[in-house]
Symmetry: C2
Subunit: 368 residues, 2 copies
């Protein structure tokens, strides 16, 4: 499948490569656009922090109207809570044992926290972790809407988990799902429908069992508008803030909205390839079946990032292409931006006037 075009702004001079470069105006536009679209539907936006891991961008999202932040780990939540961003949902079935139990207890006291749950065992661990708290911990039951990852398989199972959680002393907020099957070409429509239907079915079952269901939380970037329907109350898209080559390939965002690239330098040239200094430790080996190579280089049409080593990428060039010289700096659009951000301590934030700042990746490496 040929790539749709991804026009990216010129890179600033003098970058020390490899570098993650973020175009701040595009980030602002992406944040504002999705907020506006969801406001118009009366659905809350709780963006996923794991994409950018930046407190500054999280604040931008909240100031634009986000209802709080979604995180994937206790560690990400700790970073946000320390920064004063306390309206947090850990959309993950946390197994709160050992050191995590104590971390969860402290987090629960310092933040306005909800946590995902998809089993009675995990509910018991969560309840034990916060047993000495004066406020109940809120949980949201995860439902599998077709992604076949986490989440209960049926509305009946959702009721069983909710009963177990409730008996253990947890407060039931509602239900959530992640339509992971939206990450297939053309899959977002069906995944969005599945998300809405699964959440509504689980909500009805919970209500029939006597639970109040305040939250029906859905969404991925591909399904972010498609799932904002029916009784769904909030969307948890994350990648929309930066975009990446996969999202463009899936037609989930436009190429003009890609807001993050990896800047790399040509370090070596061969007869029909060049080597750039963004390897697996800068681009990751994320390689969805629907793209070719480990990233897109908009400035070099037809080039393929064929092989990645820790610090080398071997890029093949189509016949007849003028070979770039050693020292040339080029932008690479990563296949998947989320793990790329986790590789750097700071990124280069460029504004519309070309001014640079270094912004910290505050939650880098907070993978647990």
């Amino acid at each position: 499948m040929p790539d749709r075009p991804i026009p990216v702004p010129a890179l600033p001079d003098g970058l020390d490569t490899p570098a993650l470069v973020v175009f701040v105006d595009r980030v602002h536009d992406n944040v504002a656009r999705l907020q506006r679209d969801l406001d118009a539907r009366g659905v809350a936006l709780r963006p996923h922090f794991k994409t950018h891991k930046s407190v500054r961008i999280a604040r931008m999202q909240v100031e634009a109207g986000a209802a709080g932040l979604t995180v994937g780990t206790i560690g990400e939540a700790e970073v946000l809570a320390s920064a004063g961003l306390r309206e947090l949902f850990i959309a993950y079935p946390v197994a709160a044992r050992g050191p995590k139990a104590e971390r969860l207890r402290v987090l629960h006291e310092t933040a306005d926290l909800a946590v995902g749950v998809d089993s009675a065992e995990a509910a018991d661990c969560l309840a034990a972790a916060v047993r000495d708290s004066r406020k109940p911990l809120r949980v949201v039951v995860e439902v599998d809407s077709g992604g076949q990852r986490t989440g209960v398989a049926s509305p009946g199972d959702a009721v069983q988990v909710a009963i177990a959680a409730s008996r253990a002393g947890l407060a039931i907020d509602g239900v959530f799902t992640h339509g992971g099957h939206s990450y297939r070409p053309g899959g977002a429509g069906a995944a969005g429908l599945d998300e809405v239907a699964s959440l509504e079915a689980a909500a009805r079952a919970l209500e029939a069992a006597g639970f109040e269901v305040r939250v029906l939380s859905a969404g991925s970037t591909p399904s972010r508008l498609l799932a904002a329907e029916g009784r769904v109350t909030e969307i948890r898209a994350g990648t929309y803030v930066f975009g990446d080559r996969s999202q463009v390939a899936l037609e989930a965002i436009d190429g003009e909205d890609v807001a993050a690239v990896v800047a790399a330098t040509v370090v070596s040239t061969g007869p029909d390839h060049v080597v750039i200094d963004a390897g697996a430790k800068a681009l990751t080996k994320d390689l969805p079946a629907y793209v070719e190579g480990y990233g897109l280089i908009p400035a070099w049409p037809g080039a393929v990032v064929e092989r990645l080593y820790d610090y080398h990428a071997v890029v093949s060039l189509p016949g007849g292409t003028r070979r770039p010289e050693v020292g040339t700096v080029v932008a690479v659009v990563p296949n998947h931006i989320c793990p790329v951000v986790d590789l750097v301590s700071t990124f280069v934030a460029v504004d519309a006037d070309g001014r640079l700042e270094h912004w910290p990746v505050d939650a880098r490496g907070r993978s647990g």
Copy 2:
């Protein structure tokens, strides 16, 4: 291809997962064994720092007899030089422009540095960066021995690069290569032979052109002993220190010598799969063609790490397997350890008595 067995020690209790766990006694054994094997051949060992990025392990290697360290980036060299480990070879064709020129200048003054070069353009940049220094910068000409990544294509090209570098004021130390084609099942033997032959041919050509060739530097972990032949003076293996699933699959190391695993916790269970909390941000999506799935779980025979998300791994279990419970902690042997180490700020170092320490990954993220 079924995996060869990888027996790993029991994990310590109370780990906060995901966690990189290193078995220190195995590291000591791996360091001592290769040093002994190369000492017996009269070939120097200059281990690659990029695998462990730990100053403490680098010191262990030097104390065992290593002739210095190999690094892939200026950033890694800066970390070692700051720690007083100054005998450094950047085995990479550094394009010393912009900020890198100044960093290289400082590094050259503070360390005993050699740098890879495979083009006249890069040689000119290196020379310009150190033009005010009172000592010449030493360079080593990279030769392609079949890996088709970096390095000149022929002995004649090696001479051309050496002449350009010499005219620019750089000192020629010798030649180096990386037999990247050793990373194929059964490929190490041929790659080792190719490394020796390519280096010797390039050395002869340089000598015929009047250069003194002191260094013939070869090696990857699969070819570390196979390339320690003929005129080869040093081996730059890196991964041998920790090992990984790929090295075992390639029969480059024994399963008993794997010294690093990722500890993960079961967070969710399905009818024929479980989900553990080591995703792409803990294991990476490195997936060589000769292994199945994103890591090996020695405790669960037949299990396959089928899918990775940022914080989830979906692990399929063979029919009839007893399903592990939520909260179970399990060791995963990564496919490729080098990028895994770069994801964490510290690892858990366990000694033979089960005592734990947290060791910093000093050069984490120093990818440029």
